[in-house]
Amino acid sequence: MSEDGQAPVAVTDPVLRVRDLSVRFDSGRNVVVHAVNSVSFDLEASGALGLVGESGSGKSVTSLAILRLLPPATARIAAGEVWLGDRNLIRLSDREMRGLRGKEISLVPQDPMSGLNPVLTIGEQVAETLRAHEDVRWREARHRAAELLGTVGIPRPGDQLKRYPHQFSGGMRQRVLIAIALALRPTLLIADEPTTALDVTVQAQVLELLHQLTVERGTAILLISHDLGIMARMTQRIMVMYAGHIVESAPTEEIFARPSHPYTVGLLRSIPRVAGVGRPLTPIAGSPPVLDQVPRGCPFAPRCAWALDVCWREMPPLAPPDAISFSGGPRSGGHLLACHNPVAADEVEGGKPLQPGFRPAPPPEDGLVTGETM
């Protein structure tokens, strides 16, 4: 996004710092689901960070944990810290969190219909957000609500204030949610699959809007999605998650140009391309991870074509890879990888290890986690 012609962001403290965040779910009868495992990352002010993963990756749970919106009966933050500026969000009370949500840190949820209250008009909902955090009178709140709706491209906003969510299309509702999320100019916006439920052309509109607004206002954005195409457009940096761990974290260009984790390589090779002609898809073997059993080693080992013996025994730490050279560039943070046997540059195209005679290591005899293979 430096092509936008903006001046490079001054190096300041990151607006969000997550350290060793772990989330557990108690799903009854002594079954504990390890949804998020020791996740750490930084998000720069005005930065755009993408969190990519499939079901079971823990990406949504991570965002809910940051916002402290996890269901209290079953979920708990087992460890870690989440620093928004100089405050640790984990330590704040519910009341203090309520004061922050919407004002400093906002959410655009996945499903536009469930994000809006069906019995209140759009105007009431936008104004409600304003009045919850600032001392404004109804008249002014309505006025500002109309302005906000205009900013997100809703035609004739003054008239639309009186209408109800079900009278709007999916794309319009999502715009309203974006308006509500940005109403108080938060420093951080979390967008969780903001366009999954929308048509392709509407998706393009909404992403354009999101991009434009966050860049204009300097809002940092944490974008969560399974769609790598959206990430290519919207983010400066991408983190790939698998089974609650971050397995690869790098500037966006590098994730696509030089993916190094076998899972990342697998994902990129299993996506059909609109432009690609006749290239066969190479699916990732096996099935998504089972989260109620803790593997001793890397959770991707059962599906990994590059697996070594050590991969079954020891979880690799997230660290810069040694044997690969990267251009550091003006952006912060280089390429981080959690892998014992990363994919070499010439192996990316083929999607398999090139070492002659190499076979992925089988699971050790003393038993481990096994998800059933697809």
């Binding site: 779910f25 009854g28 009868r29 949804a35 993963g53 499939e54 079901s55 079971g56 990756s57 823990g58 990406k59 949504s60 749970v61 809910l64 996890l70 269901p71 079953t74 979920a75 996945q110």
Partner: protein, 301 residues
Amino acid sequence: MKQDRQPRAAAGRLRRMSRAVQPFLAESWLNGLGAVIVVLILLLAVFGPLLAPQNPDQVNLLAVLQPPSVNHWFGTDSLGRDIFSQVLAGARISIEVAVIILSLSVVFGTALGIMSGLAGGLVDEIIMRITDLFLAFPGFILAAAIAATLGPSLQHTVLALAVVFWPWYTRLIRGQVLSLREREFVLAARVARAGTMWIATRHLARNVLAILIVQVSLDVGYAILATSSLSFLGLGAQPPSPEWGALIASGRSYIQTAWWWTVFPGLALALTVLGFNLLGDGLRDWIDPRLRGSLVGGVQE
């Protein structure tokens, strides 16, 4: 040998059933309490005649209006009959009555509900308007009116209550069918050229069973209570029937001198209704999250 396998198979089935029951009991102590009460009442109903110390109809003019004692745990009535035996016999009647009422109304109401939901259009309209008509009347008044018209007796009460209960099932099942009808597995059956009967019996019936069970368990208590109330008013079982409502009515005039005649049948009635209500509530709370869990899922990753 086949005989050897049977007890082992039965033991296996019992173990599987108890494993299925355990989470339900673990959910709340009230569920356990409800289950215990219901099982107790059912046992008493089934084995009542064997457990009763005396024949409930046995008149003994030497032991009239005796207070509770070792010989007569619940005392005796104005003709010297043992009230404990009568209460036991009444349990049997109450359960029988509830079973008949609910069988009639569930079968009729469900069939009508499935028909209405599947057929749609004019058939649906007609059935729903008839259902609405029945539902418009306060249930108890309607039952009383029917029972009074037909003549006071237990059989007529049962019929009257079946008439009151069926529309609830029709509505409930129709709602379920409407939502299931568009589910992809029903569409898949239609693509396979399955007919309406096939879909109704093989797919819909099994998928509404859970809701039905919950509703029935909640209604048993009401059915028993309604029967007893009608008997109390003189429209149902007539004395000397040991039906609880009739007992309470008979004992009413003696309430100051022989309180045990009214109180014990009353307690039995209250306990039974409580037990079934607890069980029904527990079942509903237990089944609901499971339903929600299987079709919608919790936090999406």
